[in-house]
Amino acid sequence: MCVGLPAKIVSMKNGTAVVDATGARREISTELLDNVEPGDFVMVHAGIAIAKITADDQEETKSLMDALEA
């Protein structure tokens, strides 16, 4: 229902940030997040950052599978 794109925060100013997704850059809103800074990865949907991304999917699925099999 909602396509999200992971992107890296390049710079921030007044609740907005410029994000970079493998070379494509756009200004988005970061007003919904209170704990992000340049260098962080965020999930972008419809021009706003909806979540901070804390790991890549390989690390995530590996630890989920470790836990499932433990």
Binding site: V3, L5, A7, A21, T22, G23, A24, R25, R26
Partner: protein, 334 residues
């Protein structure tokens, strides 16, 4: 003072002659381009290919080219896809009243430069001016003839099971460039159009082997559309390997933001090549030495089954259908 095209430039009178003399003749000059009603040309001995194409693009300048370069590449590449060395070309302009002369000059210069690189002479032309708002800037139509290389026998209907499929470079760059140049979505990326004349690329492949079945330039509709066309015209199935399709990361990023598929974005300097599997590596080696095909790749093969369809082998080892082409490309959130 900045000069603009006026309706008088299209009247056939003095202004028209001035425009042709000062601008088009200056750039396009060659022995065949005269003031006569038609170009008189030496005969070509052998099989001849002939094609025509109209060009409208907004904006008419973009990173990597302009409509002039595009109008030469498009026709030259269509000829090249039949194994024909582009030889003569005509061009017809419809220019909007008020179009800056300096811009028209840039367009003519790009046409001349590209024609020279492609080895083609612009032997005749026509200029019309339309009232403001009747056309968008400038529209160009080019028509070309070329001499088919001895031994080349190419057609969209000739793909055979067992053929390998190559693309001569990364996909979707022209479409992405135009999308960004229109600046409708506030996205920036360092992407330039792949627009290029490809006779040299084709010649290098034909010098390696004449045993090539299909060449097609992936323009409007992109590589995905070409694959479906060939599957249909040759009555074969196609399987491609998703992981090896070359896509520039920035193109992938733009597509990710807007929910678009790079395989369906236009290219203007990319060929899709179908040739027997045993020739594929040699062709790839040749292509990777060419200046417009350094990122060439073998992306799939022709099969006997799933005729008329294009199947994608996914990175997790499963198979799925490449969505058939269709409709206006619209950015999406879902």
């Amino acid at each position: 003072m900045e000069e603009f095209i006026t309706l008088a430039h299209g009247s056939g009178g003095r202004k028209t002659s001035e425009l042709i003399g000062n601008l088009f003749k200056k750039y396009f000059a060659n022995d065949y381009l005269t003031a006569d009603d038609a170009a008189v040309l030496p005969g070509l001995s052998g099989r001849i290919a002939m094609t025509t194409d109209g060009f409208i693009v907004s904006p008419c300048e973009f990173p990597g080219g302009n409509i002039g370069k595009l109008s030469i590449c498009g026709t030259v590449n269509d000829l090249a896809c039949m194994g024909a060395k582009p030889t003569y070309l005509t061009c017809s302009f419809v220019i909007e009243e008020g179009f800056p002369v300096a811009k028209l000059e840039e367009i003519a210069a790009a046409m001349a430069k590209t024609a020279k690189e492609a080895g083609v002479s612009i032997v005749a032309g026509d200029t019309k001016v339309a009232g403001r708002g009747q056309v968008d800037g400038v529209f160009i139509t080019t028509t070309g003839v070329g001499l088919i290389e001895e031994g080349a026998d190419l057609s969209g209907a000739y793909a055979k099971p067992g053929d390998a499929i190559l693309v001569t470079g990364d996909v979707g760059r022209h479409g992405t460039t135009i999308l960004l140049a229109r600046d409708e979505y506030g996205i920036e990326a360092d992407v330039t159009s792949d627009c290029a004349p490809l006779w040299g690329t084709v010649k290098s492949m034909l010098d390696e082997t004449k045993d090539i079945h299909v060449l097609r330039d992936a323009t409007r509709g992109g590589v995905g559309t070409v694959l479906y066309e060939i599957a249909e015209e040759s009555g074969v199935g196609i399987t491609i390997n998703e992981a090896v399709i070359p896509v520039d990361p920035a193109v992938a990023g733009v597509c990710g933001m807007l929910g678009l598929e790079p395989l369906y974005l236009a290219c203007e300097g990319r060929l899709v090549v179908f040739a027997p599997k045993e020739k594929a590596e040699a062709l790839l080696t040749v292509l990777r030495q060419g200046k417009y095909s350094e990122s060439a790749a073998i992306i799939g093969e022709v099969t006997d089954d799933h005729k008329g369809r294009v199947v994608v082998r996914t990175p997790i080892g499963s198979e799925t259908l490449l969505p058939p082409p269709g409709g206006e490309l619209l950015p999406r959130i879902c």
